[in-house]
Symmetry: C2
Subunit: 275 residues, 2 copies
């Protein structure tokens, strides 16, 4: 069965990322929710999921409902309220389609993406992963970010429990390791799917928190590879940075599902916050 992402509004995530087709092909309307505010705007993963959903609406007519690769460039800070998505098919192939998408508010571009969409359900079941999942403490021993009184608004839209080994920053003693790990799930019992993985890949605090740089780290570019439809349940997330230089740092994200599969990999380039 082809996934449609028309799952109704049983969850806040589905409601907040909803896109409505217009009479013009490839044009969609969205309402960005203030619930996803963080730093100087709305969370990048939330915006990628919303635009990724608009792209999926167009790509599913080509038989390719799922993001396989999506590269996002952030142009200006999005604000709560109406937004317009424009999706263009660059190439409709047999197994893969390539599409571009842009999210605009009042004529100002917020986010633009290039993407390859496929039917993840049709891929070969072959798996030869040598990466290993994060060795996270059990969920009940990890610390919910939403309980922090300083937590940004968007952290109430999902459950994120950070591993105690990455939590030095929370008590003012950053651990010095550029690693951030934790458990993630949406609220309302909404199970993960390829679109929500675009959010999950940008949900952890930046690794720079543990390097004593607690400020906002605006993303320049972020590319997500969705490699499989995730199994229901908690996702395990890991962020690692190895090259902090010239005022920028890369952040690699792995998303593992409850069946132990590496379902998404992402890399972003972000501006290093001041120390």
């Amino acid at each position: 069965m082809t996934q449609t992402y028309d799952s109704g509004f049983g969850s806040g995530f589905d409601r907040d990322t909803d896109v409505r087709p217009t009479v013009e092909e490839g044009r969609y309307e969205a309402d960005l929710s203030a619930g996803w505010t963080v730093g100087g705007g709305l969370n990048g993963g939330y915006l990628m999921a919303t635009l990724g959903r608009a792209v999926s609406r167009r790509a599913r007519d080509l038989g390719h409902p799922d993001p396989l690769a999506l590269s996002a460039y952030f142009l200006s800070a999005a604000t709560p309220g109406p937004a317009q998505a424009r999706v263009e098919v660059l190439r409709a192939g047999r197994g893969t389609s390539t599409l571009s998408g842009t999210l605009t508010q009042d004529g100002v571009q917020r986010l633009t993406v290039l993407s390859s969409y496929v039917d993840l359900g049709s891929l070969t079941p072959e798996v030869a992963t040598t990466a290993t999942p994060p060795a996270l403490a059990p969920v009940e021993q990890c610390v919910p970010t939403s309980e922090d009184p300083m937590a940004p608004e968007f952290s109430h839209r999902f459950e994120l429990r950070l591993d105690p080994a990455c939590l030095g920053f929370a008590s003012g003693t950053p651990g010095g390791r550029a690693v951030m790990e934790g458990w993630f799930r949406l609220v309302d019992g909404r199970e993960p799917d390829p679109i929500s993985l675009l959010l999950a890949a940008d949900a952890l605090p930046p690794t720079t928190f543990e390097l004593g740089r607690p400020g906002w780290a605006p993303t320049v570019e972020m590319s997500v590879h969705v490699r499989a439809r995730p199994a229901p349940g908690w996702l395990a997330l890991r962020h690692v940075t190895t090259n902090l230089a010239g005022g920028y740092f890369e952040e690699d994200c792995e998303v593992w599902d409850s069946a132990g599969r590496l379902v998404a990999q992402a890399r972003q380039l972000a501006k290093t916050p001041r120390g």
Copy 2:
């Protein structure tokens, strides 16, 4: 001094990636060279360098001549001969500009990119890299790929010397590790620069060679982060794959310069060749 990339045709690389402005703003003409043939078309890194150069022509007028991040989606196989590049400024910022670019032949899109350009010379000198360079054998103990009679045409455009530890495939006994490492430099004494790093990031054979899958591995998406202008001399390259699944694999590339700096990081998603 702002880099212009107008270095003349002292090298084959500069000649083959040259782009000529047309009377129309943001439109350029290129002549793709048969010298870069590999697998079913022209090398992806060569195409990225050519289009990246067209983007640079436009971005330098905004004070941002160097690629910082460039994400490429490959749409169809390019062929030797005339090509047209179209570059659009999406956002001209103070420190960064965001641009899109498309390379077309006879009206058929070959490659489309989103990119952020900066002046790499203006970035803070801060470096806090924890990644470590590949432990390569000395250049003279590494094996030139161009001496292989089966070597693709494009391997004669540069010097690539592979570390013996990654060379099992060459004698029919693939080593089983998804790692590929070697030394790289352009011919004609052409020193590396940010544009040639776009080529270097896609110059090694795919890691799948060492996994017993010697076929062509077409790239779906490739994102390159150029983090600094490279020092003159040999570059050390490393490819690593950790997730081969569902018919696709990711390939992470590091490019280190002769001064020991991690000057570029890249990740691509490619189709797994049949075994």
